[in-house]
């Protein structure tokens, strides 16, 4: 019987094309799954856990406010750090040291810089602990502001009815962050994840999840 197609010897010996591991990683996700100190958006984070997390509960999406929002307090902290350098040139040191001894000035400077460091730290942890978590079972919104305000809102995914995202303004569009509104059923308050990075992607993920639960 005549062969319809016979591969040439060169084709038989040709190596099978392999996709590099970098390519696979790139296709898997554009975001890393490791949450580091400055992460604001992470899919399937591995190192994060939360209070009352159930055994079969897995965090799917981890969102903080956009990193860009930190620029304000970073600018203030840098300004407060640099300001004394200008004051050094403006002050009449002979007059000042005639009034108080150098150790007082040194002590005040040390206290001042420590206050600046504390200011930066407090602002950082305020941003750091403002977290929204989407798990395979629940939506969790942790609000933390000014050290005295703390609000933790939790709802089941089955109670989520709709998700929408808004991006208003040039800066928000430029840096790709916006608000995500998660509407819930019944008496439960709606969730607003303010200034979340990649709001469209995040809302799409939540949409897919609530679709699985069949509430929409």
């Amino acid at each position: 019987m005549a062969d319809i197609f016979v591969a040439s010897r060169e084709e038989k010996n040709a190596p099978v094309p392999k996709i590099s591991s970098d390519k696979i990683e790139a296709e898997k996700s554009t975001f890393d799954d490791k949450v580091h100190l400055f992460s604001s958006f992470s899919l399937n984070p591995t190192d994060v856990s939360f209070e009352n997390q159930e055994k079969d509960e897995k965090i799917l999406l981890f969102v903080r406010k956009s990193k860009i929002l930190n620029l304000k307090w970073i600018g203030v902290a840098i300004g407060l750090t640099v300001a004394p350098l200008f004051i050094i040139f403006l002050i009449d040191w002979t007059l000042l040291l005639g009034l108080v001894s150098f150790k007082y000035v040194f002590y005040f400077a040390a206290l001042y810089f420590l206050v600046v460091v504390a200011y930066a730290y407090v602002n950082f942890i305020t941003w750091y602990f403002n977290i929204a978590l989407i798990t395979n079972l629940r939506v969790i919104d942790v609000d933390f502001a000014g050290l005295i305000y703390k609000n933790i809102a939790i709802t089941k995914l089955s109670l989520v009815q709709d998700v929408s995202s808004t991006q208003v303004g040039v800066v928000r569009n430029m840096f790709n962050y916006g608000d995500i509104l998660v509407q819930t059923a019944g008496n439960v308050d709606n969730f607003i994840f303010e200034a979340a990075p990649n709001p469209e992607k995040a809302s799409r993920i939540i949409e897919n999840l609530i679709g699985k639960h069949g509430t929409v």
Partner: protein, 76 residues
């Protein structure tokens, strides 16, 4: 007449020292609140990698504040 021979520079230095110590104590109390809030929030949402960094930072700030307070008691 001795009433009018008051050494005003000593009073100024003494009041400065008191102000510094009070400021430092208030700052220390504020840092303790920060530390407590950090621990509270860390139990709610826990990150294995970041916790040691942030905790050691606040403890360092606290220790520096305590050492500044002790310094103010001794040298000022």
């Amino acid at each position: 007449m001795e009433l009018f021979n008051f050494n005003y520079s000593n009073i100024l230095l003494f009041s400065t020292k008191i102000v510094f110590i009070v400021l430092n104590l208030l700052f220390l109390a504020f840092l303790l609140v920060v530390y407590r809030q950090f621990n509270n929030m860390n139990t709610i949402v826990h990150d294995m990698q970041d916790t040691p960094i942030l905790k050691s930072t606040i403890i360092t700030i606290l220790l520096i504040a305590i050492s500044l307070l002790l310094t103010s008691l001794v040298i000022l």
